[in-house]
Amino acid sequence: MSSNNHDLPGVTRRDFLGWASISAVALTALSVFAGIFRMSKPTVRYEESTRFKIGKPENFPAGTVKKLEERGVFIFSGDDGLHAISSVCTHLGCIVAVTETGFQCPCHGSRYNANGKVIGGPAPRNLAWLEISQNVDGTLVVDAAKEVPVGTKFNLYA
């Protein structure tokens, strides 16, 4: 696309139009690809909400552990309040089991201590502590999409 008109400075019309068409094609292709990706990223999810009710606080007497299997969380209840720990292993998403020392994953042998901290195996992250809150009707709500710092307890009377 080199110009043979050396009198004119800058870009020739031919070069300009050539590059403009190439850019237009590239831009269109890029938009189409971006659109395909955006289109295939679901806007509606056919899944249950990440927020779910777990019942009244009285259901969780101090010193107990409840496993809410279908929700993938453990609810621990102690003297200083409640906390929810995710049962989904941070390695590849298997469901961990409670052991004497904490948690153990059946898939690749990741081990966690009682606070969900990784103490062995390939898991890259600690088990997530999830947010517990209370509805106006008094029931407790866990949000599996909201992580809270380790050690955050939900205390009714605090």
Binding site: F37, S40, K41, P42, R45, Y46, E47, T50, E69, E70, H91, L92, G93, C94, I95, Q104, C105, P106, C107, H108, G109, K117, V118, I119, G120, G121, P122, P124, R125
Partner: protein, 518 residues
């Protein structure tokens, strides 16, 4: 016709009588293949056969050279397509029905179990044969002399083969399928391991985004099955067949299969070949020829029997037909006796213990048990990149078409096999007995494990060994042989460890009988 007073009706009768003959003449175009000329015409006049050359080099037809591995892979592919279309008659890709329809195919549909078994075993057989075909192409140096690009196309086909197998594994929606899907989706998510270590996940969560695109949601569910089904029956097969077309076309365009530069036909060759009626090709020693203006590349060498080629009809076609029948019989017999696995319905609450991916991914799963990112994305990506770049980094053009190039190549391959096996078993034994960083220092940062783990050390050793071989021999081809041998050693040993020696909680057990109850 000899009757000049024929009526229209009698002409019509004649035509009707000879309809078989005239149809076959219109169909075959060049008549029956009874002479060399008509045998050649039979090849280039036939839509299905013209993909192949009219003549085939004797070296290509030697069973010990190609071992028929590429064609066997293609034969298995044809069997998966055939059986796949048939079982699609009953399969329904929804999480409500998928498991039940696969069960129906297995237990109710006439011939369903055999079809499903053939589909499964031919598909998994493809993995073995495609890998072996790759090894044959590599060790005979057939990625050289203009075949560099076709090698890269072959790598793409390898990836498609793995992808189609894996997506098919997820369709029955049993426990195996579901937990394989969960594990694979989390492998796709594993770049999170890096972004987390760098603390940028909240701004740039490439892992989470890829997982969501793959699953069609945050968890494996109905949307995921739709997408996996789409990959298995449409997207990946389309890509596979496009690349396969290019692969075959390039074989022809790149001058057929590789052969040694100084090829000497042996007496044994003539035993199973039918030789051309006219010997010596079109060139005679009494004349001189100048094709320099007409032909690209090397001009034909006059005087020696330039071609060493025989007609593809019947030599090549008989070999292919025999190979196809062998593959067909082998798979059908295997499928008759050995059933494809089908566990209980998928249950998101109870992971399999151990939760294993299909066997061809268990080598990766072993690496995954050290670091999700390196095992799932980093190291396989590096391996594929290394394989794809091999022909561009090793550009020595001699000894093409000879297994292991020469005596030195044989020695290099054998030494790499022994050293690689010893080193990899050493690394694995160490990791299994003594654990890794986190067992010694519980607070070690994840990034350090991602960077230094048994898998990376093995790959690091492969690279060091290759550099050592290149320096020692002064040949990039020897380095390539060393590296590729190590790659195969790694694939085989890691797959074996992941398949046979890993039990509940990914613990190490010599035998399955030692697994604790769980």
């Amino acid at each position: 016709m000899n009757n000049t007073n024929q009526t229209g009706i009698s002409v019509f009768k004649e035509n009707l009588k000879s309809i078989g003959k005239s149809f076959s003449a219109s169909f075959l175009r060049s008549g029956r293949p009874i002479s060399d000329r008509s045998r050649a015409a039979a090849m280039f006049n036939n839509f299905f056969l013209h993909v192949q050359g009219v003549k085939t080099h004797i070296n290509t037809l030697r069973p010990g050279y190609t071992l028929g591995l590429g064609f066997a892979s293609f034969a298995l592919l044809m069997m998966t397509v055939f059986t796949g279309v048939l079982i699609m008659i009953y399969y329904n890709p929804s999480i409500e029905n998928a498991y039940n329809t696969v069960k129906d195919i297995n237990y109710v549909v006439f011939g369903g179990r055999l079809l499903r078994n053939v589909h499964k075993w031919a598909g998994e057989g493809m993995i073995i044969f495609v890998m072996l075909h790759m090894a044959r192409v590599f060790y005979t140096g057939s990625y050289k002399q203009g075949r560099e690009f076709n090698w890269v196309v072959g790598i793409a086909l390898l990836v498609c083969t793995f992808g189609i197998n894996l997506s098919g594994y997820m369709l029955p929606w049993d426990q195996l399928a579901y937990w394989a899907l969960v594990i694979v989706s989390n492998i796709i998510q594993s770049p999170k391991e890096i972004t987390d270590s760098l603390g940028i996940t909240q701004y740039f969560d490439i892992g989470g985004l890829s997982k969501e695109l793959f699953l069609g949601g945050l968890h494996a569910g109905k949307e995921s099955l739709t997408r996996v089904y789409l990959l298995h029956i449409m997207l990946l097969p389309m890509i596979l067949f496009i690349f396969l077309g290019i692969h075959f076309w390039r074989i022809r365009k790149d001058g057929g299969l590789t052969k040694p530069e100084h090829f000497v036909p042996s007496a044994a060759d003539t035993e199973y070949l039918s030789l051309p009626e006219k010997k010596g090709g079109i060139f005679t020693t009494s004349k001189t020829y100048g094709l320099m203006e007409l032909a690209h590349g090397k001009t034909p060498a006059v005087g020696k029997d330039v071609e060493h080629e025989v007609l593809s009809w019947p030599n090549l076609l008989i070999a292919e037909a025999a190979l196809f029948m062998l593959c067909f019989a082998g798979v059908v017999v295997y499928a008759f006796f050995i059933d494809a696995p089908l566990k209980e319905l998928a249950n998101p609450l109870i992971p399999e213990n151990p939760a294993k991916a299909p066997w061809y991914f268990l080598g990766l799963q072993e690496l995954l048990s050290y670091s999700a990112f390196m095992g799932g994305v980093g190291l396989p990506g590096l391996a594929l990149l290394g394989l794809a770049l091999a022909p561009y980094l090793d550009r020595e053009q001699d000894h093409v078409g000879i297994w292991f190039s020469n005596q030195q190549g044989k020695k290099t391959a054998l030494l790499s096999l022994v050293v690689g096996t010893a080193v990899l078993i050493g690394i694995l034994a160490f990791a299994i007995n003594f654990g890794w960083f986190r067992n010694w220092w519980p607070n070690v940062p994840q990034l350090l494990i991602t960077l230094i783990n048994p898998g990376n050390i093995w790959v690091g050793f492969m690279i060091i060994w290759t550099v050592f071989v290149v320096r020692k021999t002064g040949s990039t081809r020897m380095g390539a042989i060393a590296l590729f041998t190590m790659f195969l050693v790694g694939f085989v040993i890691l797959t074996y460890v992941g398949t046979e020696l890993r039990g509940p909680n990914w613990g190490f057990y010599w035998f399955k009988s030692q697994w604790p109850p769980h």
